[in-house]
Symmetry: C2
Subunit: 635 residues, 2 copies
Amino acid sequence: MRRSIATVSLSGTLEEKLRAAAAAGFDGVEVFENDLVASPLPPREVRAAAAELGLGIDLYQPFRDFEGVDDAGLERNLRRAEAKFELMLELGADTLLVCSNAAPAALGDDARAAAQLRHLAEAAAPYGVRIAYEALAWGRRVDTYEHSWRLVAEADHPSLGVCLDSFHILSKGGDPAGIRAIPGAKIFFLQLADAPYMAMDLLQWSRHYRCFPGQGAFDLTGFTRHVLAAGYTGPLSLEVFNDVFRAADPHRTAADAMRSLSVLEDALARERAAERVGGEPGADGARPRASLTRLPDPPDDAGYAFVEIAAQEGGGAERVRAVLAALGFSHTRDHRSKPVQLWSSGGVRLLLSSTDPRLGHTWDGDAAVTALGVEVADPERAAERAERLLAPTLPRRRDPAESRLNAVAAPDGTAVFFCPGRREGREWLADFGAEAVRDRHAGGDGAPLSAIDHVGLFQPFDHFDEASLFYRSVLGLTPDESLEVAAPDGLVRSRALADGGDGGLRIALNVSVLGRGAHSDAAGGAQHAAFACDDVFAAAEAMRAAGVAPLPIPDNYYDDLAARTDLAPAVRERMRANGILYDRSADGGEFFHFYTPMLDNRLFFEVVQRTGGYRGYGAANTAVRMAAHRAEQAR
Amino acid sequence: MRRSIATVSLSGTLEEKLRAAAAAGFDGVEVFENDLVASPLPPREVRAAAAELGLGIDLYQPFRDFEGVDDAGLERNLRRAEAKFELMLELGADTLLVCSNAAPAALGDDARAAAQLRHLAEAAAPYGVRIAYEALAWGRRVDTYEHSWRLVAEADHPSLGVCLDSFHILSKGGDPAGIRAIPGAKIFFLQLADAPYMAMDLLQWSRHYRCFPGQGAFDLTGFTRHVLAAGYTGPLSLEVFNDVFRAADPHRTAADAMRSLSVLEDALARERAAERVGGEPGADGARPRASLTRLPDPPDDAGYAFVEIAAQEGGGAERVRAVLAALGFSHTRDHRSKPVQLWSSGGVRLLLSSTDPRLGHTWDGDAAVTALGVEVADPERAAERAERLLAPTLPRRRDPAESRLNAVAAPDGTAVFFCPGRREGREWLADFGAEAVRDRHAGGDGAPLSAIDHVGLFQPFDHFDEASLFYRSVLGLTPDESLEVAAPDGLVRSRALADGGDGGLRIALNVSVLGRGAHSDAAGGAQHAAFACDDVFAAAEAMRAAGVAPLPIPDNYYDDLAARTDLAPAVRERMRANGILYDRSADGGEFFHFYTPMLDNRLFFEVVQRTGGYRGYGAANTAVRMAAHRAEQAR
């Protein structure tokens, strides 16, 4: 299907917006009137600039407060409309979005409103302009798509149809199934926007918090399914008012937008394929069918191959090694050609590197998680899917004899390597020497760690929603709800993504709610890897015995725990002695976890033990952890 | 009255919060449980640290989901409470905030809830602890103060009273007049918070957007009046959950908080004085009367004495002079002892300086508005009021023969000078040489400017609400509603403050909604001075004739103006030729205005003409202005 984006979804000047939309591969744009009014380019030059970039101008918008007015008002509004039709001729736009009258004075007379819309369509026809009438969720008299369609049907003019906007319909809990009753040819335009659930004024919600499909809480796949079933074959167009996108790099935002539409189309294409296979009825045979583009299948049965940490030799690397050793890791192999060490404990493999996996040069920052190795059954397919989702691919310099690992860069800069999994022989391991390395960092006596439980990644402020969609779509993960944590210097938003299986992929994304403080872009924000084990007490005690004390947790925490839980005093005291924190889920699952001190400013490790199907990440304890790390760093 | 602040209102560790509260002059704090739990200080040491700082611990909070449970739940909750009573003994806190049960399972049986609260009070009494029961706005069964008071009255125990929180009452449109029916001695605690009106979920509104009294839309003076009339004599305590305050310097926030309470008490003291004079009935004579502290009177009849601009000689100063000359200003005098020039046009005086008025040293930044000279009838009184409102006073190095100008620093760093006004002889002008300076920047031929219409000041992200309260309280201004403008690189929030009179003080405060882009703290943000005139067309044409073209406004703007207004074509074309923008108010008042180019990156001037009582600032055109300045700077 044709893909469009409204210029209001992107930051910058109109020219910058057009360039960004074209670079991301969009076919067209909706020109937002304010962007044109503020532009030094006359409409004819905007048209030429768009054409040169391969973009059509699919819609001009918005035209407000037209219908349901008195006769004098109609005359004024038709004069106003004529000026816009002239402009659209210059601009090369053939569809005008008319949104339902939101003025307090709008009249509630349907026959009058329909007649006035017909007047407008008659006036538009000589210009070759189509009127797409949209019900705003906060329209004064017309605020549902059913109502807008009734008026359009009553007006009955070939130049008049409806515009459907997912936000206006889904934000009010409207049932999109009724869209199937509208003839597809009378749906002149389709605007798609998602949003997180927020119990707030519709107008404010719409103007500030819309996001791209797949980034919010609405079912955009289901919504679009109904629109396609109606026989709509026009553009899928994104109209997203979002405070963060308004201030972010428009090229990044446009790529994020395109990724969102690719995922949406893919989901619809898979549904259609499943219908064919299952013999379910497709769309009404009499109605046109939009062609849908499918992506390669998402990875299945994915898991962590490794987590790569970069640290400076002579800087943070020594501290990282000391703590890994205390956690029971052993330095077991060295890469054949690169300055990369493999550290293992039980089923957990970490790579410790002194280079940046994205740029290849020597790492010169604080120690950080720089790459995730993901085991997938078909790495080639996973990489192809990532590329189709506009993930920047990373050049991987390697010796001819080494395994080929496809890698892409996530929005937060983390490299994601697609590795053949266990069943495929884990060939990447052969890039490391076969012999166990013996050095002073041999593993301790603790029970081995069983898996990488999750990885916590700091996110740049502008790219949190983008990252969530990226990891979700590229790796086939499911996002949890967002949570907020009160860090000592401001709120931090956290969103986890997981593949649902035990021992699979779990990633927690963290961002400062206001982009300030220790989790600001400037500060870099903390990252961590969490390791699963079967005996968190033994792990903590072994780490301490090996010379690294767990992050100290205040006594006040344990006193509060005593007041609000029935943990046995002996258990509580053992937790207190080892800085072990506790959480419990409603179904009785338990979570015990401790942290290492902060290593080299922004990296730490966590060891966790889950019982009884606990699925969370101990978010209730995060503020305590943050305060403890801050207190330790202040010392 | 005693003044308190909840630790949750401030950022940092518990110790940092205590230090900030003490430094701002608070008498006590509410200790928020999460702050204590995350603190390495045991309760006894927190008490000692507070005592050393002169702070009492006036409340421990919150204790949740206590009442309206089954018998087993009561037993668990009483055990939980006993642990907190023990803790409070250590902490030296004698009042516990118990907020109404918000759990879905809470029972709606008032007799049971009252009996359980009585149980709690009986358990608390031996510890010397008082229970302050508060109705959360989102309580499951108890969500109004009237209901919480009915339960407290029914439970009837000397250790049980209510806690009143202005947000929980006013956010739901509750009528605080009924508070007068509660005996003052049964109001155990008073929490004050303001908030902007937001049509959103009460919990989210409360947790993210509270602000200090006078910064939001609620009538905190009226609310507190009722509480005092009931006979309450306890602390005025601020409990403000605010995303920005959570991430800001706690010392700044605490001073802002204290300023807010000073203004509130002053307003109440003035009401009481007016009642005495007018013979109106005061509080019920049988009830105690809190003592209220009054501030010196706010400035009246204030106006601009001058606006001071600092620019680098050899840098931006020459460009500023050239544009001022083109606007019709003349360099008329020089300061007797400092490198400061006085430029005048009609009734407008600007100071052009090469030093920083706050620090005294040579100005080394881009040209900027660094000081506002405010004419007031009694500068000494205005300065005393500002000091009482914790405005940092600026040392003013001067020669003994020069006039003494009191100055304070606003939250945005702007110096505010209090100058004797016209009736007082404008003695500060005598610090400048009496002779007119003759140089190549003599004024042009345009009509003289009549006044400084307003000043637009960029605000640091953390201090927007603080600045609004500062200018309002120190200068006696009235704030308008906040507006949002879509700048090319993100939303900008704008709030104007004015003294209501014509030709008086008007200040527009601007801040990036997300703290990013051209209005971020890092970029510095634009500032401007706007001058009033009687013929904006003549002013624009004279400026152009003098060699400075007005900021070019796109033709598209004028085409849109033609579509949506009935301005005569000749007028529109004259506007187009001179970059003059237009706005109209609902009552027919009109606003014509043009801008200079950006001078030295972040300073510009505006010339405005108001007709028919137009009271705004042309905010509808601000996005166009911003895009035009951006386009010009990109060239």
